[in-house]
């Protein structure tokens, strides 16, 4: 409510130095405005958008119910804060652009302000999500602590390998769209159709987004005697490897993007999650630092079971595990 008041009051506070109609819309890449609103509409319109946003968020939170409170809180905080900064920043940009002009046609596009606003909103969403999540994660950690995950039985003399692959078509689409924008900007830049400054600002982030998203749109995992390897992107590069002896334990766990702070490659206090869809994730705990790495992938249960089994048959642990492992494995493998 306070934010709505602030957004609505901002144009009024400066109305002495503003024209009758405020320029409120600029075409992309154009300096002159192509849309305007009277002062009262310019003050009420963003405030109404804000109220609608808060209403939607609160209804969503109500419907999620008690069990999901912890995860929806992250969504709520991130959506409200970034939405607030976005709308407040847009309103401030509009007012600033119109300041001290007699007519709305003279208002210039506040590019720098828009960029700052967008960046601020994105950073705020990320930081809030991360803060809330690390708090949720810490409080939830003891519950997910299991002594050991599932163990697959490896018949004597057999070599088992496990493969799994997952793609998220939405992320592919996003990567393709971002790539298209980057290529379009590059072509315009090379052909010299427009000034270089704004085009670089367009090209660099979109090219980066496209590559980063494409890298997380497809993930392949394989578990073998050599350990776990997780390869990103359609080309299987870059990839991360964990030798079998570095993996303390593995398990399958259900995780959602809200828990880990979104889709893609997510870092947080307890470890890393590669999130492509909510649901089954393969989680490994590394020896030594006890950090966790998780990847959302199908058939994670058996992947974890194989990694645990490989762990148990490792030579220097054999003396410890053979005592209770031999009793039930030998009768089954002898004919």
């Amino acid at each position: 409510m306070g934010t709505a008041g602030l957004i609505a009051a901002l144009p009024w506070a400066a109305h002495g130095r503003l024209p009758d109609r405020l320029a409120t819309h600029w075409g992309s890449g154009q300096d002159t405005p192509d849309g305007s609103m009277p002062l009262w509409a310019a003050s009420l319109f963003p405030a109404l958008i804000w109220l609608a946003l808060t209403a939607i968020v609160f209804v969503a939170q109500r419907r999620a119910g008690d069990p999901a409170r912890g995860t929806t809180r992250a969504w709520t905080a991130a959506a409200l804060l970034s939405g607030g900064i976005l709308l407040g920043g847009a309103q401030a940009s509009v007012v600033r652009a119109n300041l001290d002009h007699a007519d709305w046609h003279q208002a210039r596009q506040p590019t720098a302000w828009i960029v700052v606003t967008l960046a601020g909103a994105a950073v705020a969403a990320g930081v809030v999500g991360w803060l809330v999540n690390s708090r949720v994660a810490v409080s939830a950690a003891p519950a997910t602590q299991e002594p050991s995950g599932p163990v697959l039985e490896i018949p004597r003399g057999q070599r088992l390998v496990w493969f799994s692959r997952i793609t998220n078509p939405w992320l592919h689409l996003l990567a393709a769209v971002a790539g298209l924008v980057a290529v379009a900007a590059l072509v315009t830049l090379v052909s010299g159709l427009a000034t270089a400054g704004p085009l670089w600002a367009l090209l660099a982030p979109f090219a980066f987004t496209s590559l980063a998203v494409a890298g997380c749109a497809t993930v392949q995992a394989r578990a073998s005697e050599r350990g776990l390897e997780v390869a990103f992107g359609p080309l299987g590069w870059p990839a991360r490897r964990w030798p079998a002896e570095d993996i303390e334990s593995a398990r399958a766990e259900n995780r959602t993007p809200a828990q880990v702070g979104g889709w893609g490659y997510r870092l947080r206090g307890l470890g890393t999650t590669v999130m492509l869809r909510s649901g089954e994730c393969l989680v490994i705990r590394t020896r030594g630092k006890g950090r966790e790495f998780a990847v959302s992938i199908d058939d994670a249960e058996r992947g974890a079971a194989l990694l645990n089994a490989l762990n148990m048959t490792r030579p220097f642990l054999r003396t410890a595990t053979v005592l209770h492992g031999a009793a039930h494995t030998i009768p089954k493998t002898t004919k």
Binding site: Q158, R159, L160, V161, W162, F163, S164, S224, G236, R302
Partner: protein, 115 residues
């Protein structure tokens, strides 16, 4: 999908690789239309030379279990699941016959004589 190689198996390695994939298809580990891991990945995970893996994959294509598609890699062919189970039994039959001293032609004669 889970692949199994038997370290005590004495058959040539490319046949073992083909056998492991045939078994995986028969057991529903990968379904028709699914994409197989690349030959390079299979080779690294199974600790078998890439060319050996490729030879195994090619023999499966000749059996009609796999399809090689440019740009899409190696996929499991339509109807491969049923065919794979049958083929496994045929291979087992041929191996058992060889152990008992019957050639493939002997087997074919036996099958012809069944009518």
């Amino acid at each position: 999908m889970l692949l199994r190689l038997d370290k005590r198996d004495t058959r040539p390695l490319h046949e073992q690789v083909a056998g492991a994939i045939r078994r995986a298809i028969a057991e529903g580990e990968c379904r028709p239309g699914d994409r197989l891991p690349s030959a390079r990945d299979l080779s690294a995970a199974l600790d078998v030379n890439v060319n050996t893996v490729l030879r195994g994959l090619r023999s499966l294509r000749e059996d009609g279990l796999l399809e090689f598609r440019r740009g899409r890699g190696v996929t499991v062919a339509e109807g491969a699941d049923e065919r794979s189970g049958l083929l496994n039994q045929v291979y087992a039959l041929v191996t058992e016959a060889a152990r008992l001293g019957y050639s493939r032609t002997d087997l074919i004669e036996m099958i012809r004589g069944m009518a």
